[in-house]
Assembly symmetry: C2
Homo-oligomer: 142 residues x 2
């Protein structure tokens, strides 16, 4: 193990900044007592995350048990960043759903999604990792 700590904790403001500069992450949720995970596109609105979905198991899950976790990460060269949130999901209805009109909630996949869900973030933590992947040196180059 090297002398310096390869794990750096992000300040909450840095973690929020990282979330704001991305739009793709993974949502973990309860479904009938099981844990499930799915990729989603999201946008940040103050201290909550907003995403769109269709009727289905994801929506059923977060409606039945609002406890969710969410992760966004990025690997650039020998540095990885991961931000993790925990919070409560709720469906936005009526006027509240119009928040998407002023947010960059941009689904990447062209399938119908009419339900707007917000995740009120209770906890956020971000870490930056210095990676050690000596095996990459063995890759052919040029």
């Amino acid at each position: 193990m090297s002398d310096h700590d390869p794990v750096h904790v992000l300040h909450p403001e840095e973690a929020w900044g990282f979330l704001r500069s991305h739009e793709f992450g993974r949502l973990a949720f309860h479904l009938v007592g099981e844990v499930h995970i799915t990729p989603i596109n999201y946008a940040v609105d103050g201290e909550r995350l907003v995403f769109m979905t269709a009727e289905g198991s994801k929506l059923f899950g977060v409606t039945a048990n609002t406890d969710v976790a969410f992760e966004v990460d990025e690997i650039v060269g020998e540095r990885a960043t991961s931000v993790i949130c925990r919070g409560r999901a709720r469906t936005l209805e009526g006027q509240a759903a119009y928040v998407v009109e002023r947010l960059p909630v941009r689904p990447w996949v062209d399938t119908p999604k009419s339900v707007v869900v917000a995740i009120e973030v209770d906890e956020i933590s971000g870490r930056r990792f210095d990676l050690t992947r000596p095996w990459l040196r063995d890759l052919p180059t040029g």
Copy 2:
């Protein structure tokens, strides 16, 4: 919405192939009734996933409730692939833990990890998405 379906379901063999060709994903697990998510490095061993960890909340969580979900994804140009597994985690001890000697379980971050955990996969599903991100056309080029 365009005429063709932008979502393609992968054959299970394709999904396993995708898992074998990657080594970084996100583990969702129960912890004291909550759902948590964390990035991990893993390797595939037959029909299970193997990863290393330290004593801590992740290990405590998967020991107390073995139900877990796992996701690996990749975005290349206008195509995204996501493979999701669900299964049961268990700690490998004694001789069983030596499986890591013959697997490419390669933690990217140089911190102590002495516990070997296997996820027996019960369900696997993979999808490939054709992305529609017209806003990327607005990005400056050159």
